[in-house]
Every structure is written in C-alpha cells, then in structure tokens.
Amino acid sequence: MRPFEYSDETISEKELLIALPSMLIASGVLSLPKLLAMYTVAADGWIPLFVSGITNLIMAACVARFTMQFAGQPFYSYASKLVTRPVAWFFTMAFCGLFVAIAALEVREIADISKSYLFHRTPVEVIALSFLLVVVYAVCGSRAGILRLNLLFLPIILFIFILLLSLDIKFIEMKNLLPMFQTDMKDYMRAMPAGIGSYSWFGIIWFYIALIKKPKKLGRKVAKVMCIPIVVYLLFYVACIGVFGNMVTANMIYPVVELAKEAELPGGIFERFESVFFVVWLMAIFNTTAMAFDIAVYALNSLFRKVDKHKFVFTLAPVIFLIAFIPQNTESVRSYDSVLNYFALSFSLFLLLLFVTVQKTKGVKGNG
C-alpha cells in the first residue's frame, strides 16, 4: 500500500520531465527561424540549431545529474553547503533576477504578437496586464499545480504543432531547402546565439529538484525529454524555410505564425488558422511565464522563509510588468532576449563547474 503522497506539494519525476519541454517551448520559437535565416544560406540554419540543442541537452543532463544528489533540498540550502552562505545568497538572487526577466520577456512578446495578429486597437498594456494577472493567479496557487498544468497543456500544444506541420506539408518546396552546407563558418558562428537562446532556460532544474523525493537516473531521462523541444524547433525551422524560402523568412517578424497563416483547415471551419494556432500557443507561453515567475518567487522564499509567498507575488508582478515595457521596439526586445539567454546558459555552466569542483575538493556529500 502506498501513502497518498502525490497529493502533497511534492511532484514526481514525470512532472519535472514534462516541465522542461514546457519551459523551453515558448514565444522564442515563433521568431526563431527568422534569426537563423538571417545569417545562413537555404536551410543550413538547422546545423547551429542542432548543435546548440545538443550542447544544451548535455548541459541539462549534467545539471540534472548533479542536482539529483541534493533532491528534496532547495537550491539555497545545497548551494550554501557547497559554497558559503553569502555566495549562495547571491546566486539565488541572480536566479530570481533571471527568471523575473524571463517572465517579463514572455509578457512583452505576448503583447506584441497579440497586437499584430489578434487585436489592432486594444492597447498592448491591456493585453499584457490581463495575461500577467492570469499568471499571478496561477503563481498564487500551489507549486505542484503549476507543474500539473504543464501536463494538461503540453499534449494540446504538441497536437497543434503536429496539426500545423501536417497542414503545411504540401506547401513545402524542396528547392527552398537546397543547396546544403553552403554557409561559411563565420556565419554559422553568427547564427549560433539564436540557436542557443531558445534552449537555455533549463535552469528550472536547479530549483524544482527540491520538490522531488527520490529521482532515479534523472540525467538520462532529462536528456530524452530535451529532445522534444529540439525536434519542435528543427521541424518548425525546416517548415518555414521550405514554405517561404530563406529570403522571405529572414524578413518576417514571426515566421511560425505566418506559417500558420498559410495553413488551411479542411472543411473550412476556421478561415484564419493563425489565430487558432497562436491562441493555443498562448498556453505554451503561459506555462513558461508561470514557471519563471514561480521560480523567482521560490528563490525569494527560500531566502526569506518567514515572509508569505503572496507578498512576493504581488511585489514582483508590477516589477515584471515594468521590465516588460522597457525595450522600445522589436529590435531591442530581441537584443534583450539574447542577453538573457547568454546569461542563463553561462550562469548554469558556471554554477555547474563551480559546484562540481567544490564538491570534489571539499567532499560535500549529497543525499547519498
């Protein structure tokens, strides 16, 4: 007989594993093909995308493997065991800042895309605010609840992804994809940031590991689920180039949404499929935002244990809203995005290296 564990605030491995692709599939992918197409020839962008995907996959698996030994402990507590308390405090704050920034970015992207595809008169602020309020509602609820939402939404998101691809497959022209391997090394390197960017938010593992009781072989499992976003990104990219060609893709703002515009539902129930697609994609973006916000709150909460969670939620929400509207135009949103991604990746890498070295030298033991 098993106790009723699952109804508490702990989660099973499954929920963490679903959380990863849910976190990574967000608004970034909608503009991703454009960024890659800007620097590469034909469909060559898949190489940087794939390489950075694999890099991030390995990184995520390493982080999972490392944190696994501290399962059940909050980031702050195991970090203070490894490096000292003040340093751990600083790292936690940095994570909090990072995830607040990610949430803000998503809120901004939602507002921008909705403005260009759904509403024309409604002010962006109203769109962003209503979205943020729903996120606040989610974060005020239980943490396990947010992770369960992923389970409810991810299948719908993957379904619309497959539907979109199958509707668009007849528009793909092979000549758009060829010739291959024509891009030179320098341009590959220039396209790399766009590739890396979209994957680097796997940092949620650092925190959500605290909710799991006894993970087993987490590294391998994480590596498996990291394949989902890689496949989604690659297929979206190839479909965009195949349908529009390299030049056109490079000049669109959100090529994936445009891809949905091309699609036609058989039976003609909906004329404009892109609205349907975007509305469903909104769930994906919501999941990412909610998790990012939740981790920011979680980080603060692990530092100040006595303060009520809701207080953090209501202080951070206006901050997120304000940060979201700092970038003036799409260009600056994009550079904000890439700075964030670089930081997310390098911070995780740095922490991993630091922690592993410290553990080796000091011999700190995990849960065993």
Partner: protein
C-alpha cells in the same frame, strides 16, 4: 410491536412459571419471550434517548437497573422507483429511496463482501439523524477514510435534511463552482465507486447518496458506459467531452468571433451571419447574454412546475426563443441555433451538478469574450485549468488522473477500454488492494 412483544408477554405470564428474581426475569424475557429482532440491553438514559425518539420500544421492569431497547421502528415510505435524475437506457432501474435501511440493502445487494462496512454516525444536534459511512475495508485507503470521518465530526448544525448539507461541510473549496463530491441516486453507481476504493455517505431521509472523492473525469462518466460494449461506450464518452466543450465555449466563441475576429470565420459564413444579424439592435455580447438568461429562466421554471404544466413551458419557450424573438428582430436566428445547441450539450453532461457549474462558467467565458475576444476566452480557459489543478476533493487532486498523470487510469477515462483490460482499481485512489477483476462493476 403488538404481536412480537405484547402478545408474547401476556401469553407467557398467564401460563409459565417465571423466575421471581427481577433480574433473572428480565433476562428470561430478553432471551425467550420477546420475539423481535435487534433487542439490546441498555443501562443509561443516554443510550435510550436517541432510539426512543427514532421509534424504538423501551421495556422497563420494576426492580431492575436495566431496560430492554427493542427496535420496532417502522414507517411508511416511497416504493423503490427508477431514479429521476440519472436515467439509463440499459442497466439497473432501481434508485435509492428515503429509507436508510432500504438503501443499505440496495448497496449490500450489489456487494456481498463481508468487508463492506456501514459505519453508523448520528448527525444534527436536534434532528439526530442516522448517517452511514460506507466503504469496503481492504480496498479503501485508510488515510482517506480517516480524513472523511474527521471532517464529518466537524459538522455542527441542527438538522441535515439532505446530503447536500453534508457535501458543503465536506468539500475542500467552498468558492469553487465544481462539484467536489458526487451525489447519486443509483445503487449501482455507489457500489462501483465503493469497489474503486471510494467512500459513500448515506443519510436517512434522502435518496441522494454522496460519493467522495470525485474527480473531473468521473463527472463525465455514466454507469451506462460499462453496460454498453466498449466501442459504443468510448464513442459516447468522446461525445460527452465534445458536449462539455460546446456547453462551455459556444456562446463565448460566437461573441468573440463576431465582435473581435470576424476574419477567422470563412467569408461566406461571416456574410450570412452578418446578413442574419441585419436589424438586430444589440451587439453580440448583449444578444448572447439575453438569450442565455432567457434559457436559464426557462430551465428553472421547467424544473419547478408540476409535470403536467411543465410541457407548457416547453411550448412557450420554444415559441418565445425560437420564433417570436427572431421575427421581432431582437435576436438573430444564428444566435438561437447556438443557444439551442449549447442547452442540448449541457443536458448531455451525465452529472447534473457539473452541468450547473458549466452554466456558471459559461457566463464567465462570455464576459471574457466580450472584453478580450478569443484572447479572453483562452485566458479564461487557462484560469479554469489553474483552478482545477489546485482543487482537491477530500485530499485527492480533482484533475487526477489528467493532472498528476497516471497512465494506468487512462484505459477508463476519455475512452473506455474493453472490460477485460480494466483489471486494476484506479491508481489515483491508491487503494490497498489494487487488482480488481473488474473495475467497472
């Protein structure tokens, strides 16, 4: 009472030699003379009060500090009839009645397991009604049972005329529109729930029995799903999920598509809707709200009226909604189609209490659509989902087995696999004995 106690006592005292000692006399009477079933010896007045008021006979003998408490309670009751709220085409037609003993018998007839338990509790400070907590020992999770009993003990009120009173005391979130505890009139539903490791609560004086915990998936299942073959049952279940979708979204989509995103519909359809709306003085939101409220009024009036007059409501309603309102130019014919479809869909939800909550949620969705169009609908949908994943029914997540994902339970969720393959009790119930020959029955 007369034939079993009085006659016997009179008869015997006339003939037989009886012991002189009053204590022995009482024992003789207890063991040999009274032929009623369920006779107990009581010593204090507290033991007696409740039973005397329930209709028992108390036998007192001079000189003894004990009395006999004889169960002679009996009263007129309704016959066992077909349940009104949950009809099935194929399956048992018996429904619970107001008599607690009959109800226990009905459950017992389905489960002849010695481990089936009926724990008697008394409820209501003044009414002192009997309430039975029923479960199958060895299947039910002890913590779940403990939690339900703990909550039952907190109940503090004068009287509980229906299990609805108990439901409100037991439920986890009182703000939620969703029914967190199932109520049913069907003994077969109760017995199958008991075998799944759930707990049933029977109350004297009402045919409605509570089943806890409840999940969202349960609310879209009907006992009939197991009586029909699995292909048909699966098809009907899918149809119900579609019905739930229509019941919640249809009018909201109408508002959103007409006022915000007319481009999303095929051009011809947009034109014909616009042509049909020619002359309608209200924006789609006002039009839809008016119609939904009219529909609710008709529903409510239909439920309250006596059956013979009830049909008039149907005719009047059909005329008012269907024809007159359209020809008067207040609403468009498309709106009528949508509202009718929506009403039919909400009637297709097997559980009445979920049907009502869908009606409330529908209004929320319509307001969201009126404010932000299709974007508002999806935000409202996300909010409902957030609410559901945070909701618990007696400690069990309401969204299980969708939310906390249990692969083993998917053979009996959206689809209903062949009964041979459903050989485990629901995983989300964490039952003590998880193998069942047959989960469905």
């Amino acid at each position: 009472m007369h034939s079993n106690i009085m006659k016997n006592v009179q008869h015997v005292t006339e003939r037989k030699q009886l012991p002189e000692n009053p204590k022995q006399l009482l024992h003789t009477i207890f063991l040999e003379i009274i032929s009623a079933t369920d006779v107990k010896i009581a010593k204090t007045i507290d033991d007696l009060f409740n039973d005397l008021l329930y209709g028992n006979t108390i036998f007192l003998l001079d000189g003894v500090d004990m009395v006999l408490n004889i169960n002679t309670a009996g009263w007129e009751g309704r016959q066992i009839e077909e349940p009104i709220t949950e009809g099935v085409i194929r399956g048992p037609r018996e429904g619970f009645v107001e008599n607690l003993l009959t109800n226990m018998m009905l459950v017992r007839r389905h489960i002849r397991d010695p481990n089936l338990r009926f724990d008697k509790h008394s409820i209501g400070k003044r009414s002192k009604k009997y309430m039975i907590v029923s479960y199958v020992e060895g299947i039910v999770h002890p913590e779940l049972l403990q939690e339900i009993k703990r909550r039952l003990q907190t109940i503090d009120m004068d009287d509980a005329p229906d299990t609805g009173y108990i439901e409100e005391w037991l439920q986890d979130s009182f703000l939620s529109p969703f029914p967190q505890i199932t109520n049913t009139e069907r003994p077969d539903k109760v017995s199958s729930a008991l075998l799944q490791g759930k707990v049933a609560i029977l109350l004297d004086g009402t045919p409605f029995v509570l089943i806890a915990p409840a999940t969202f998936g349960n609310a879209l299942q009907s006992p009939e799903d197991y009586y029909e073959r699995f292909v048909i049952a699966t098809f009907i279940r899918l149809l119900r999920y579609l019905a739930a979708f229509i019941a919640i979204f249809m009018p909201a989509l109408y508002i959103a598509l007409l006022s915000y995103q007319p481009g999303m519909l095929p051009t011809n359809l947009t034109i014909s809707i616009a042509a049909a709306r020619e002359g309608v003085p209200f924006p789609p939101f006002v039009e839809a709200i008016m119609m939904v409220i009219t529909m609710e009024l008709l529903r409510e009036a239909g439920a309250r009226l006596p059956k013979t007059i009830g049909q008039t409501i149907g005719i009047v309603g059909g005329l008012v909604i269907g024809d007159a309102a359209v020809s008067a130019g207040i609403v468009s014919p498309v709106m009528v189609v949508i509202i009718a479809l929506n009403a039919v869909a909400s009637f297709a939800i097997p559980e009445y209490s979920l049907g009502i909550s869908f009606r409330i949620i529908l209004l929320g969705f319509m307001i969201a659509a009126g404010l932000l169009g299709i974007y508002g609908i999806i935000l409202a949908y996300i909010m409902v989902n957030i609410h559901i994943v945070n909701l618990k029914s007696v400690g069990v997540p309401y969204s299980a087995p969708f939310g906390p994902f249990f692969k083993g339970d998917w053979n009996d969720l959206v689809m209903r696999a062949p009964l041979q393959t459903i050989n485990r009790r629901p995983v989300y119930m964490q039952t003590k004995d998880d193998k069942s020959g047959n989960k469905g029955e």
